[in-house]
Amino acid sequence: MELFTNQVLAGIATGAIYACMALAVVMIYQAIDHLNFAQGEMAMFSTFISWQLMQWGVPYWAAFVITLALSFVGGIAIERILFKPLAKAPILTNVAGFIALFAIINSSAGLIWDFTIKQYPTPFGSAPFLGSQLISTHQAGMIGVTVLLLLGLYFFFQYTRIGLAMRAAASVPESARLVGINTSWMIALGWGMATAIGAIAGMLIAPVVFLEPNMMGGVLIYGFAAAVLGGLTSPFGAVVGGFLVGIFENLAGTYIPGVGNELKLPIALALIISVLVVKPAGLFGRHIVKRV
């Protein structure tokens, strides 16, 4: 039983990483209706910017805020310059665009900061949290930040005019345009916010997985999986999905014989798919009814 609780705790700790990433994935999905494959790379690039700022002597929280602002602007710029011209292109062409963006960011980061692994500081310290060896203060801090972020987003989307406008632009663009919402800029805003959230996720994840251009590869896969599991339309679902995926993954690695590290990912994904077969819109997603 103790093994079980420990593994669940460890799962929650890694789950926090996935939850963070999943939240960013869902944010952009809300705004543009696609999964952005380059999201992880964008987060990685933001994290590198903050690292560079700290190398130049900027204190952690100042670097944090500057990075958020830069990422927000950068996300909007990417949308305006690269993806607005593709707004009328087929969806699959857009997906190819994400893959192209992925290649560009990954390769540029490699050239600017090279591929060596770098240490990244944590503002929360890394002592054991409440005497447990499995969860550090950093991971606890990460969970805290994720929950705060979720609350903030909830209030933003439910209780502000602009949040409402963004939701309207994402779900029924035509009608939203008719009532005077600038849907094109709502999409750009969505990109900006998603990039900023991705930057937070990146800066929280970096102390755990270390900083390098490929740090997000694995994390993004779990983030997607978590977002899909929770239901792509629900930020709350994404966070719950993140924790569930973390726990799944750890328990599968511990209790199923012969799994080990290599097969953890496929097993976690298989479990998620089994859930999706029963609930095709994810655990907390809305069921979409199509009109013929």
């Binding site: 690269l82 699959l92 893959i99 192209a100 560009i104 390769s107 999986a225 979409i288």
Partner: protein, 339 residues
């Protein structure tokens, strides 16, 4: 976010409706392309012939994805898994059981058809991104499954298997590469003709009806479940044959050749070639083989970025891929003829 259900109006299909006539080439153009494909190797070096062979079998794999996505509207990131199964079935049969290569390919196709058909069953309930995730899971699992210990006796584990390249039969005065090229060409042409006819048949019409509107299709009496899984099966089977051909041509199979990267490349090939336009598959294959080399030539350190920029250029200029170029060409030719 309080509404329990959303109603999405028409006009939100993930894959464009391509009329079936627009899916193929005209007779004259086909003959010219065929003539080129037959003649070029006679004047090329062995390495170039090898690259052309690569072009053919990757084109076949892109074609398979095109039938699935462009034909039946289902999206897959798991093609690399079927490609890997096909390659391994061929390699294991050739090396461990000494079965001639031309008998291995049909077996690879049938095994992959079965695998795809079975995988299509749970995938039935999923669509769009959810289906993408499911197929993605398959793609990430495949290299790990190929490395499993109890299969190592046949598969050679992490090390993979070396495959012997077949000689030209009947004492034909041809290099191994050239023989393999013509062999691949015949297989690919046969499958291309089969695919074109498949899409023109009753099953093909059912695929397209499902792609354009699933509910309407089922109301008209199309067995949606059957045809969706059938599309998965056919696509997987063809991918398996492509994988088998690749195993013979490369003379080597290893688990890490069949990762998600391959599936993404095939996807890019499909987009560049034009979703739903079968002849575009070969253009797409050319893009995924040659453009990374060109990018490497332009800048070694930034090859990924150059590749990304080139890809962006292509999708800006022709968002519908090579199909758009072909349509433009056709209109131009028509105008010239009228003058």
């Amino acid at each position: 976010m309080s509404a329990a259900e959303d109603v999405v109006a028409e006009g939100h299909e993930a894959v464009e409706a391509v009329p079936k006539r627009a899916m193929t080439l005209g007779m004259g153009t086909s003959l010219v392309v065929l003539l080129l494909l037959v003649a070029v190797p006679l004047f090329a070096k062995n390495f170039v012939i090898f690259q052309l062979t690569q072009l053919l079998y990757l084109g076949l794999a892109v074609l398979a994805l095109n039938i699935l996505t462009g034909g039946s509207g289902q999206f897959s990131l798991g093609q690399s898994a079927f490609y890997g199964i096909g390659a391994y079935v061929t390699a294991v049969m050739m090396e461990q059981f000494n079965i001639p290569y031309f008998l291995c390919l049909p077996v690879a196709g049938v095994v992959c058809f079965g695998a795809g058909f079975l995988f299509g069953q749970p995938a039935l309930r999923l669509s769009g991104v959810y289906l993408a995730l499911a197929t993605f899971a398959l793609a990430t699992a495949m290299p790990q499954l190929l490395k499993l210990n109890f299969l190592e006796h046949w598969t050679g584990g992490v090390q993979g298997l070396v495959v012997t390249k077949p000689d030209a039969p009947f004492g034909l005065p041809m290099s191994q590469d050239m023989w393999l090229y013509y062999f691949t060409l015949v297989v690919v042409l046969a499958i291309y003709i089969f695919s074109v006819n498949l899409l023109r048949s009753r099953s093909g019409r059912a695929f397209m009806a499902i792609r354009d509107n699933e509910i309407a299709a089922s109301a008209m009496g199309v067995n949606v479940a059957l045809y969706k899984t059938l599309a998965f099966g056919v696509s997987a089977g063809i991918t398996g044959v492509a994988g088998g051909l690749s195993a013979i041509a490369v003379q080597f199979v290893a688990p890490d050749s069949f990762t998600i990267t391959l599936a993404i490349q095939l996807f890019l090939g499909m987009v560049v070639g034009g979703v739903g336009w079968l002849p575009g598959s070969i253009v797409g294959a050319a893009f995924i083989i040659f453009v990374p080399n060109i990018a490497e030539g332009i800048s070694k350190g930034l090859s990924g970025a150059v590749f990304g920029v080139l890809l962006f250029l292509v999708i800006y200029l022709v968002p519908h891929g090579a199909r758009q170029v072909a349509i433009l060409g056709q209109q131009l030719a028509g105008r010239l003829r009228r003058n």
